[in-house]
């Protein structure tokens, strides 16, 4: 079920009530586990089996790793986990994509091969929970962590519903220890958790779905040719939509967990105020970028084997990171562009190591970063390369026969929201939400909370799935 639905409100109220009962901690954990399976099966019940497979395989792989003495045996247990998880991910997420590319490859050498349509349904959140379970085995393999003491804590780590389908991608060392001691939110945690949930819902329901999604659809989901204004505004709208959608989800997830007495990590840190792309990736989808860094970039060599190897590792990581988002070459292009940006930035930093920019130059770098990030969003949002090129040509003002696409109302609304969003990110660049809330007058907090809650209800929403569910 999605967070922005009546079903979730009813579900969460029941879970919260049961979790507050004076029951044994083990019973309350079992309740949370059952609730998490219900949460997941509310989409498509049979896919719970995949979740169980992923859970059980990594549990036994980690147990095997602890008992194994020989490096070869340890490696075998690790590979079992990686193959099982990536195998499931590969089949369900990339099966159709691989088959289509295989067919195209054969066609390119003159072999006419027509495979039957695989018609594979993508289990929601599979990319997230396979990464979570893999991090469990890999941390044990890399001797960074010990395995969980009991299966219940481990299963709850994998399945805990706030992070299950769209992150933040939790590491076992972040969550398993929290299940070892009884937890129940105090009043402050409960109320502040509800405040975070309201902020997240406002981002998702009002800003992303209510006011920004339509402009992006008008520009991207059409055959009409956009000019510079439409191409930029449609892309800016998408940049705001995807941030408000995904950061909104993460904020709700953090709030939900807090209401139950648990802590989850930040997933976003005002990324549109990033200065440079390494800064951007320290602020955008932090739990994914750090996962890729720890389990892909560093094992590929990181920056320990000279510049060439570093650049290769960087590009490989970003290309695979792009592919993680979706089974399409457009996502690979998106990741590749970020890889190029990061590589160029790395080279520039070395080349101009002594350069100390003033505040205005930093601001200019920040705006350039945001503009170039928007160029990458074109490949992320467009369903085909053809459409991506059309929009890109529009952004660079080289489209002939462009027609106006966005209404005056859309232009004004998108401009207002995106300007407000970017200014907010810059104002919050070196702050946390909590430090601001700690100083704001109570009346302002109440009024803001009320306006957000009213806007969420008045916008109505249609229970649209979060964008990252498809990944």
């Amino acid at each position: 079920m999605v967070f922005n639905s009546l079903t979730f409100i009813a579900f969460f109220a029941i879970v919260l009530a049961i979790h507050s009962l004076p029951l044994a901690w083990k019973v309350r954990k079992v309740n949370l586990l059952v609730a998490s399976y219900l949460f997941y099966s509310a989409w498509n019940p049979p896919f719970v089996i995949l979740l169980w497979i992923s859970t059980v395989v990594d549990w036994y792989a980690a147990q095997g790793l602890v008992k194994a003495q020989r490096p070869a045996a340890r490696r075998a247990w690790m590979l079992l986990s990686v193959v099982a998880n990536l195998g499931m991910l590969g089949y369900f997420k990339y099966g159709g994509f691989l088959l289509a590319n295989f067919t195209a490859l054969l066609a390119s050498v003159g072999v006419a091969y027509h495979a039957p349509a695989p018609d594979i349904v993508l289990p929601v959140g599979i990319s997230f929970y396979t990464f979570a379970t893999m991090s469990y085995t890999l941390d044990v393999y890399l001797r960074r962590a010990l395995p969980a003491r009991n299966f219940l804590d481990y299963a709850l780590f994998v399945t805990f519903f706030p992070h299950l389908v769209a992150g933040p991608i939790m590491r076992p060392t972040e969550l398993v220890p929290q299940f070892e001691q009884p937890r129940r939110a105090n009043r402050q945690q409960l109320f502040f958790g509800l405040a975070l949930m309201t902020i997240g819902m406002f981002n998702k329901v009002v800003l992303a779905d209510g006011f920004l999604a339509h402009a992006a659809e008008v520009v991207y989901d059409t055959d009409k040719i956009p000019g510079a204004l439409d191409a930029w505004m449609g892309t800016l709208a998408f940049s705001g939509q995807i941030f408000c959608d995904f950061a909104g989800y993460s904020t709700i997830a953090i709030g939900v967990a807090m209401c139950l007495g648990f802590a989850m990590p930040d997933n976003f840190r005002f990324p549109y105020a990033a200065i440079g792309f390494s800064d951007f990736w320290r602020r955008w989808h932090i739990t994914l970028s750090s996962w890729l860094r720890d389990y892909l970039y560093i094992p590929l060599g990181g920056n320990r084997h000279g510049p060439r190897r570093t650049y290769a590792a960087l590009m490989g990581t970003m290309l695979l990171g792009g592919l993680w988002h979706g089974a399409s070459w457009t996502f690979v292009a998106w990741g590749g562009l970020h890889g190029i940006y990061l590589s160029v930035e790395r080279w520039l930093r070395k080349r101009f190591a002594g350069f100390r920019p003033n505040v205005w130059v930093l601001l200019a770098f920040g705006l350039i970063t945001y503009a170039l990030v928007n160029v990458t969003w074109v490949f992320f949002r467009a369903k085909t390369f053809s459409r991506a090129w059309t929009v890109l040509r529009g952004m660079f003002g080289t489209n002939d026969k462009a027609v106006p696409l966005l209404s005056g109302e859309s232009l004004v609304v998108v401009a207002a929201i995106i300007t407000g969003l970017v200014i907010t990110h810059w104002l919050m660049r070196n702050r946390t939400l909590e430090t601001v809330l700690a100083r704001a007058p109570a009346a302002v907090l109440s009024c803001t909370w009320a306006v957000m809650a009213f806007a969420i209800i008045a916008t109505q929403g249609s229970g649209n799935a979060f964008i990252y569910f498809q990944f």
Partner: protein, 404 residues
Amino acid sequence: MPSSTSSFESARPDLVIERSTSAEARIALRPGLRLTAADRPGIAQPVPERDIPDRRWGAIMLAALIMTLLMLGAWEWHWRAFGVEPSIANSDALWATQRRRIDHGEGDGATVLIGSSRMLFDLQLPVWQQLSGTRPIQLALEGTSPMFALEDLADDPNFRNGRLLVGVAPDIFFSGFAYRGGVLKYTRKQSPSQRVGQWLSMHFVEPFLAFDDPDYALPTVLERQDWWPVRPGMHPRKDVRKLMVVVDEDRASHIWDKLEKDPAYAALAQSIWAQHFEPGPGMPSPAELRKTIDEQIARAAVAVAKLRKRNVELIFVRTPSAGGYLAFEDKVFPRAKTWDMLLAKTGAPGVHFQDHPELQGFWLPEWSHLAARDAVRFTAALYRIIEHDVEQRGASRVAKTPER
């Protein structure tokens, strides 16, 4: 105060890869900022810490709650003053509940209604039930050609030995326009969560809140204001406004009484229809339209043949229209080239309102849909015409099927 403190210790606390990068990141962080996984490369991530601002959150939330309720009360009052009453949402999920009735055994011998908004508003389920003893399954969808439903039912063996009334609004039926064409896909993929949500909404939200209607969603309300600049080169068209009210869980509906009571609102609705009466950019050429009409008729013929094999009695119904709308339909979709050809090609009987005096003389406040009291009369008259045809079998005014 932190809501959680780190209690985890790495199995190898000495393992810190890329120490320099981490150190740079830490230096960049100002006091008050939280470290994240981005600042801790290559190590086991500790239990997160979350600060909770030291405020009186209970009091802040209570004040927010009161203000939210006041604002919602004002919003509700505003829309009720406009004439809106709480009603069941005409959602895809509600349609899905009715479509599933056929899957779950009610399809054998059922009377099913498909079509667009005219079939939805004009045919009154209680009247039909009173006269026939059975309540039809209402599957008509506003702004949507019934072709998808016709083909779906034709392929569904659960629907047999029954009667299918197919509403024909010429501009929608023969153009294949489908405003809500995704409803069948939604129905097939509807998750348990969505079903529960629909039930909760229908029982705990929709009966109480007038503003819970897509027409009065905040973005829609803002978009429809007059203050927005009109962009050069664009010719914005107004969206169709709220026209109907669903009065029962089985999608029994009728026209919204504001259209009968408020001449300005009815005139607005007419002006919105009139936007489509004159040729404009993006509209098909006569040759393209002819091709589309022929395609729709051919698809209907295939579906009718399938239904006939399962002993389903299919009747096309041309529901009334008036004024500028009727003139537009007569001009662009003339009867001889659409309706008559449909009956000829499918071999199915049809009821055209212009052939029956008892189906004429009604009030259509916005040219396209019957006033509520006239919808009652229309339903009774239509029922009698169809039943008369059943008794006469082939000799009635209903059957327009040409000799073969």
